[in-house]
Symmetry: D2
Subunit: 337 residues, 4 copies
C-alpha cells in the first residue's frame, strides 16, 4: 500500500500518519518528490483499514500494490485447483460440460433433456428450481418440487446436478440434495449467503455479477474460502455494457486474466451472456479457445414452450453437433472431455 | 407488445402464433410492410410470456410498448405517494434529510452524531448495523448490538431510524425495531428478500443497484408492492460506468425520469455515489435542484477513525452549513423541510 | 511513477531497469516488500515512456502518482482561468448562458431565436452550421451558408456566436467568422484538429467525448494548450452508460472534480445529455447548483419542425422561465449572470 | 417505424400527425390499445425525420422496426462481400492475418519485422505512420517518412500495407501509397473523413469506436458506402466498460452479430483490446473460433524499446507459434489462410 499525501501537507501531519501506521505493525518507506510525498507501507498491513487512511483529509489517494484477495490468489497457491464431484474432476486439463434447461418444468421434461445431454457427452445436469426473475409476474420456479425432479433425473442418468440457491434458509437442503450449488450473478455479493455456503464443503459454482469487476468476483470467492470451503468454480456470464444488441457482453478476456490471478477453475455460460440461441454456438467455441475449463449451456427440447429463457436455449440436436466442434478445439488446447 | 416476424416467415407460421396469442386472450392488429410482418397484441396480455415468443425461431424481435411495472406506474396512479413515518412525511412537497454514520460503532458515537444531525435539521437517523463489505476481512458491523444502539439514539433524540437489512432471517426483527428498512444496492434483486419485506407494512428504502436500469429499479419496487406493501421510497446512489475518478456515477437524470414514470418518492445518496467527502456538498445541492424528495448523507464526527467509509463522510459542522444551502434551494423548488 | 516488478524478478533485471531510468534523468527510491519490489521514480520523468516500461516482461504494473496533464493542471496554476470573449467573461464568479437551435436552418429562424434568447438573458448564440450526424441520410447542416446566417444574427443582436468545427480545413475561416469554436464530443480525440485550433488564440469550447474519462478530456485540452492556446472552456454533455432511458448519462460529479483538477472553466450541456426536452430544465438547475460556470441549452421556436434534435429543444417561453430559476440558484452560489 | 402516442392524446392531434406522415408518402396502420395509440408507418419512410416526430410533445416514443442502414445490410445483400487487395482476398472462406508494429520506427525495424511476419504466414503488414496518442507529449509517428518506410518494406517482402489515416488532407496520398486505409477507433465518427474515403475505391479498414454500438459501426460503414466505396472491412477492437483490468473489453459476440446483420467482412484486433501482450494469444484463438474473417496483431522484435504500445506487442517467435494454433482452429471452421 502506498499513501500519497496532498501537496504541501505539513510535516507534523505526515509524522502522525507514520506513527499510526507503525503502531499497526508496518514498516514505512518514504519517498519525497517535487509535488507529492509518498509513504510506502511494507510488511504486515493486515491491521490497516484503507478507508480510514483515505478519510484523512491530508491524503491525496491510496495506491494498492498487492491484490486484496489472499486465499484465491495464485501468488500464494501456484498450482491449479481441481474440484472433485462424484466421479468428475473440474479444472486442470479437464474440459467440463454442464447442460440443461433454464428451469425444471416437469419430470418428463427434465428426465428427457437429461438423457439427451448425457448421450451427447455432458458431465453435469443443470436446471433451475428456484428462479430469480426480474418480474414478480414471471414463473418463479417449481422450488422444492424442482429439486425432487432433478434428483429423479440424476438417478435415471447418473449425471450430478447443479442448481441455484437464492436464500440462506436453503443451504442445508441444498447440501444434502445437490452436487454443485450455484450462486447466481444477482447474489454474487449477497455476503450472508456466501458465508453460509462457505461453511459447507460442497462445490460452489460462483457466477460473476453483471457489473462486478474481476477483482470483486475474486473477493466474493474469498468470502467463501475464508469460511473454509475451497471448492469453488468461477463462471463468466457476461457483463453489463452500453451495447444492448446482446443481453450482456461476454467478457472472454476475463478467462485468461482469472487464470493468471487465481488458481480456481473458471467456466463460461454463453447462454445467459448472449441471450440469443444463435450466439451460443460461436461463443461456446470461443470460450474453449480462450482457455476456459468448461461450459454451462442451456438446452431445451421445446424452446418455444419453455417456461423461461427459451430464446437462449438450443435444441438437443444442435447441442450434439456443438459438442463435436468443442471437442476438436479442446483437443488443440490439450484438454480432455 | 409488438411481435416482429422474420422476413420471409411462411404464412402458416404466422397463423400459428396468431392462434396462440388469441387463445391467450389478446386481440391482434396485423401490419405487413415490405420486409417485416408485425403482429400488435392488444388487450389483456397478462397471460403471455415474452420469453416464449422470443424463443420462436421465426420471431425477429419483440417490442414492448407498455412498461412492465403496474403498481408503481404513474399511469395508473397519477398522484404522488406520500409515506408516513411517525410524525414525518416523505414525498409530495416535503424535502427529507436522512443522516448519520456509515456504521454504528458505539453508543457514544451514534448518540452524539444523532444529536448533532438532529440539531442541524435532519429528520431521520441512518447507521449501518449489518454491513455488506466487499472484503471478508473488513469490519462487518455490530449486527444485533448495532440495532440496540440505534434504538438508544432514537430514544434520546426522537429521530426515527433507518438501517439496512441483509437477510430474510431478520425481517421480523427489523419490523419491530426500526422505522424504515433499507434494502441496499447489492440486494436490489435479492427477490426473496423483496418478497418478505413486501409482506410487511413497514416503509422500505430501496436503493438502485449499481448496474440496474431505472426500469429494473421499478421492477424491484413492483416485487415489494405486488406482495402488498405500498410504502416504498426509492434511492439513487450512483451507477457503475467507465469513469472511475468517482466511486460511481451519480445519475441525477434518473430523478425526473422516475418521477415521471412512477408515483413513488425518490431520494438521493450523494455519499455512496461519489465516495469522496468533498463531492457530497455540490452533489447534494444538485439533487435538490433536480427535484429529489430528499437526501441521505453520511455524517461522522471523526471520519479518520471511522470503521467504514470515512473518506465519504462529512463532519457535523459542514453538514450544518450544507443544510442551510439546501434549505435555500428547496425553497426555490417549493419544498418544505 | 512507481514501477512494480513481478514477484521473483532476478536482481540483475531490476538493476538493468534502474540503470536505464537513471540514465534518463530520474532518481530511484527502492522499496522491497514480501512479494513485490517497487521502484519509485522521482525528479524529471519527462523523458520516460511509460509504454516502454510496461512492455518489459518483468514489470507487473506501473502506477502513476502524478497527473499526465501539466498546463491544464490546477496544481501548477491555482487561480481560475477567465476567458474573455468580446464584452463577456467566462469563468470565475460569472455564470454564462449559451443558447440557440441545434442547427441553423434559415435567416428568419436563427435571427428570431437569437432575439428571443437575447431578451431572455443569454450571453451567447449557438447554432450548428456543420453537423455531425450518425446517419448519412440525415440533414448535414447548411455549412458555409449557416456561418453567414449566424453572422447576420450576431449583427442584429450583438450576441457573440459559438459553432462547431468538424475539419482542420476550416480552422482559418472559423477563426475569422466565429467568437468561440466548438469541438464536438465525437472530435474530442481528433488530435490533428486539436493541434490546429491550439495554434490560434480563439476561445475553444471543448466537449467531453461520450466515452472519455475526465483525465482524457483534460489531456485533450492539454493538446490545445501545448500548442499555445490557453482559452479553453470545457463542457460536460453526458457519457455513455448502460442506462438508455436517457440518450446519455449526465455526469454532474465531473464538474466539481474538473474544478479541483484544473483551472479551466467548465459548463454543462443538458440538452444533448438527456436527449429529452422535459429533462433540460431540472438538469440545468442541477448544473448551476453543482458549481458549473455556465450552460449550453438548445432552444427552438418550432421543435416539431426543427431539422435536427427537436426532441431535446425547449421553446423560448420555457427558456425564459428557466432563466429565472437559474438566476435564483446562481445567486445562492454567488455567481453573477 | 411505429409512433407511440401519449395516453390521452386528443384525436385531432393524432389526425395531424397522420396527415403529415401520409403527405410524406407513408401508409399508416393504426392500432388503439387501452393506454396507448400506435401509428405504424409502412412503405417508403425515407422522407421522414425521426427527430421531428420525437419532438412532437404528444409522442411518447418512436420504435424502429427496421435497421437504419441499407447498403451494409445483409437483408438487401445476402451474400458475403469479398474484398480483393492485390493477390489477396478478405472475407468468405478466407482467414486473413495482418501483423506488424504499432508504429514504424526505422527502415531496419519495419523491414525486419515485415520479413519475420511474412515468413510466419501473415498476408498484410501493418504499421502506424500517423499516430493518434492520448498525450501530446508522446511519440506522434514518423508521418510521411513512415509511409515511405512502409513502401520499402512492401517492396522487400511483397506484403501489401495497411496504415491509419487521421485527416482528410491525406486521403489522396494514402490512396496512392497504401493498400488498405485504416480508420481508427477515435475517428469512427469523423464523418468528413468517412465521406472522403468513401469517394475513393481503396479498401477501408474501419475500426469500431471505443463506445460505439454495433449499429453505429454499421452506420459509419454506411457513410462510406453511401459515397460509393463498397470495399469495407470492419474491425472489432474492444469497447469501453467498467472493467479496467484490460484496456478495453473485447466484444467477441459482436462478430457473429455483425455477420448476421451485414455482408461485410469483420476482423478482430486483440492487441488493442487487451493492451497486454499475454492476452493476445488466447484472444486471437477465440476470435478464430467465434467466426472472424481475420486478425490484426501487433508484433515487435523489441517490445521493451518500442516507441509505442510495446506492452501489447508479441515477439516474432511467439507470433509464429500463434499462427500454427490459429491455422488449426481455422481448419475446424472451414477457413483457409
Amino acid at each position: 500500500m502506498i499513501i500519497v499525501m496532498k501537496p504541501k501537507t505539513p510535516q507534523n501531519e505526515i509524522e502522525k500518519i507514520k506513527c499510526k501506521m507503525e503502531s499497526l505493525g508496518c514498516e514505512i518507506h518514504e519517498s519525497k518528490g517535487h509535488n507529492y510525498h509518498l509513504l510506502g507501507l511494507v510488511g504486515d498491513t493486515s491491521k490497516i483499514d484503507p478507508n480510514q487512511i483515505q478519510a484523512n483529509r491530508n491524503v491525496e489517494k491510496l495506491i494498492f500494490v498487492q491484490e486484496p484477495y489472499k486465499k484465491v490468489n495464485r501468488l500464494f497457491h501456484p498450482e491449479d485447483t481441481l474440484i472433485s464431484v462424484k466421479n468428475e474432476t473440474i479444472g486442470g486439463n479437464r474440459f467440463t460440460i454442464i447442460a440443461g434447461p433454464c428451469s425444471v418444468e416437469s419430470e418428463e421434461q427434465i428426465v428427457s433433456i437429461a438423457e439427451e445431454i448425457n448421450e451427447a457427452g455432458a458431465s453435469f445436469l443443470r436446471g433451475g428450481a428456484f428462479k430469480p426473475r426480474t418480474s414478480p409476474y414471471s414463473f418463479q420456479g417449481l422450488r422444492e418440487e424442482g429439486l425432487e425432479l432433478l434428483k429423479i433425473a440424476r438417478e435415471k442418468t447418473g449425471l450430478p446436478i447443479v442448481t441455484e440457491i437464492m436464500s440462506v434458509d436453503y443451504v442445508e437442503k441444498f447440501v444434502e440434495d445437490v452436487d454443485i450449488i450455484q450462486i447466481g450473478a444477482r447474489n454474487m455479493q449477497n455476503f450472508d449467503l456466501l458465508k453460509e455456503v462457505g461453511k459447507t464443503d460442497k462445490p460452489i459454482l460462483l457466477k460473476r455479477g453483471m457489473s462486478a469487476t474481476i477483482e470483486e468476483l475474486l473477493m466474493a470467492a474469498e468470502y467463501i474460502m475464508s469460511e473454509g470451503n475451497e471448492n469453488i468454480i468461477l463462471c463468466e456470464r457476461g457483463i453489463r455494457t452500453f451495447e444492448n444488441y446482446t443481453r450482456n457482453t461476454l467478457d472472454l478476456s476475463a478467462i485468461p486474466v482469472i487464470k493468471k490471478l487465481s488458481h480456481l477453475p473458471v467456466i463460461v455460460d454463453p447462454s445467459h451472456a448472449a441471450g440469443l440461441w444463435w450466439l451460443v454456438e460461436p461463443l461456446a467455441k470461443a470460450a474453449v479457445a480462450v482457455g476456459a475449463d468448461g461450459l454451462m449451456i442451456e438446452v431445451h427440447n421445446d424452446p418455444a414452450n419453455a417456461k423461461c429463457d427459451g430464446q437462449q436455449s438450443i435444441k438437443p440436436e444442435r447441442f450434439k453437433s456443438l459438442i463435436k466442434s468443442i471437442k476438436k478445439i479442446a483437443d488443440i488446447e490439450g484438454k480432455k472431455m
